[in-house]
């Protein structure tokens, strides 16, 4: 069971990132819980310069861009 956090204030890229990450989890057969983090202070707790940020099991794996499904599957270890 992975915990996937999407960091972002709700801009277009954050929604896109969530959709891509959900698809990646489904296609890799990884069970994951998705959490959306929209509070600025909580986001800034991770070291990132621009949203959207992707956090898998409390580790920031990407920020400021939308990774491909293949990348996300790799980070999920699936």
């Amino acid at each position: 069971m992975k915990t996937v956090k999407i960091l972002g204030s709700g801009c277009a890229n954050c929604k896109k990132l969530e959709a891509v990450a959900r698809e990646a989890a489904t296609s890799a057969g990884v069970e994951a819980e998705f959490v959306k983090v929209t509070d600025m202070k909580a986001i800034m707790a991770y070291d990132l310069l621009s949203t959207p940020g992707l956090v898998i099991d409390e580790k920031l794996v990407s920020s400021g861009r939308i990774p491909t499904q293949a990348e996300i599957r790799q980070w999920m270890g699936g």
């Binding site: 972002g8 277009a12 600025m40 986001i43 621009s50 491909t68």
Partner: protein, 481 residues
């Protein structure tokens, strides 16, 4: 009912004019540049100059550069503002960044330039840069004590180093060349090189119909739509449709629609750079110097883009498309509404209130800018409407400086990061600086001797310094007692 139809017609006419005349050669390349900046310039290449140990001579220009190169939308502005303040160089550069980003980014500059004139865009850019740094430094001086004690987190975030790749530099520079070739008004570019007449006998009748739909009235600043404009609107719709199919999932790879959308975009830019004139025997296509220059610059973009790796160009196209989706829809609605409202406002109101460059006119313009909220870039067509209705250019600049910097939304956002006392000080400073900027620019437009303008600026800065010294003195006094 008649009034309603009249208003709707005003809105639709305004929209058609904008799409046909103003959008293409400036906004299309600008969207691609903005996307390229977001995707191809590594943030660390600029933010490494913003670390806690950075000297102010480095950190303020770096903050301004970050404002114009990195921050095109709120997705970047908010975290970067918080980051610069909390983990980087401190309050001053963070404020400079916040003030400069909405006016100094490429979309705002290109759009202001094409609608209000290059001189106006330059004045907006220069005054925002100067006053952004000024306000940042003032804030840092006023709140130096808070700044010294604020949380001492590591600045590992800004220690990272990176540089921009050669392919990316080439793409960005060629795109800027497309933008300049498309918008610069010099005789070399407007001269006709050759002309072809296609046998399209309906062209003249179609032009007459267009002028009937969208009335053409120079006195009211209504421009009408040309045959060329109607062709460009059609092409824009086609680009929109193909981009929806071709760019929505670009991160996973390109498809047939991607190439159709890009090809259509290039074709649209070329047609917009030509001059189409309806004649008795058909439609004349005049190839201008501009069309050749745009073609050459587009070829350069292609040449450099081929050197980007797959991830980079996909990210570039995605970011460009995202800006189009995010900003263009708002702009279309905004321009329509401006067209409706213009029918309701009497030019005399504006002329009485802000027709001359007075202190009151500038203050009213700033007040309007603070209390009205327009989405990204919509402030520009609003400003154009005021200009057409007879507003003086000085108050107009004051309005354009205050509006994007201060809105309820941005005030709340800033307050969440730096607290209320600092936010209110910032709002006050922006209001004062914008008013002064409007007065100075207005005086320059009116042809006042530059010496007097310099004296005015010096007097303003002097009184500001005196006020600051007085405030700091009062604050320091209780500490001694």
């Amino acid at each position: 009912m008649d009034t309603f139809l009249h208003l709707m017609n005003g809105g639709a006419g305004n929209l058609a004019t904008y799409l046909a005349a103003h959008v293409l050669l400036c906004l299309l390349p600008a969207f691609f540049i903005a996307g390229g900046m977001a995707a191809l310039i590594p943030k660390a290449s600029i933010t490494r100059w913003l670390g806690r140990t950075a000297h102010y001579r480095v950190s303020y220009p770096a903050a301004a550069a970050a404002g114009s190169l990195l921050a095109v939308c709120s997705c970047t502005i908010v975290p970067l503002f918080a980051g610069i303040y909390k983990k980087g160089a401190g309050l001053g550069p963070a404020i400079t960044f916040l003030f400069f980003a909405p006016a100094g980014n490429v979309l705002a500059l290109a759009y202001t330039g094409s609608i209000l004139g290059a001189e106006f865009a330059f004045a907006r850019f220069l005054l925002c840069l100067l006053f952004g740094i000024g306000i940042g430094m003032l804030m840092a001086m006023l709140f130096w004590r808070d700044d010294a004690t604020h949380d001492q987190q590591t600045d590992a975030l800004f220690a990272e180093q990176a540089s921009i790749g050669r392919g990316a530099t080439g793409v960005l520079l060629s795109l800027v060349a497309v933008l300049i070739a498309g918008t610069l008004k010099v005789s070399l570019l407007t001269a006709t090189v050759g002309a072809v007449t296609l046998p399209l006998p309906w062209a003249e009748a179609w032009q007459a119909t267009l002028f009937q739909w969208v009335p053409f009235n120079v006195a009211r600043g209504e421009e009408g739509v040309s045959v060329q404009g109607s062709l460009l609107i059609l092409l824009l719709l086609l680009i929109g449709l193909s981009a929806w199919k071709g760019l929505e999932n670009i991160v996973e790879g390109a498809n047939r629609w991607t190439w159709i959308a890009l090809g259509l975009t290039a074709a649209t830019l070329l047609i917009a750079a030509m001059r189409l004139t309806p004649r008795v025997d058909g439609l004349e296509f005049a190839v201008t110097g501009r069309a050749l220059a745009v073609g050459l610059a587009l070829w350069a973009v292609l040449h450099h883009a081929r050197r980007l790796d797959a991830d980079a160009w996909r990210a570039w196209l995605w970011e460009s498309w995202r800006f189009v989706k995010q900003i263009f829809a708002l702009l279309v609605v905004g321009v329509f509404v401006v067209g409706v409202i213009r029918q309701l406002i009497q030019p005399e109101w504006i002329q009485n209130l802000a027709g001359r460059n007075t202190l009151l006119a500038n203050a009213v313009a700033v007040g309007f800018g603070v209390f009205m909220y327009f989405p990204t870039l919509v402030e520009v067509p609003v400003a154009r409407m005021f200009l057409d209705l007879g507003m003086h250019r000085g108050p107009l600049l004051a309005y354009l400086m205050a509006d994007p910097e201060l809105s309820l939304q941005s005030i709340l956002m800033v307050a969440a990061v730096i607290g209320r006392p600092k936010t209110f000080t910032y709002v006050g400073l922006v209001a004062v600086f914008s008013t002064v900027a409007g007065l100075l620019y207005g005086a320059w437009v009116d042809g006042v001797n530059p010496v007097w303008i310099a004296i005015g600026l010096a007097a303003f800065l002097g009184s500001l310094a005196a006020l600051l010294a007085w405030t700091l003195g009062r604050r320091a006094a209780p500490a001694h007692a």
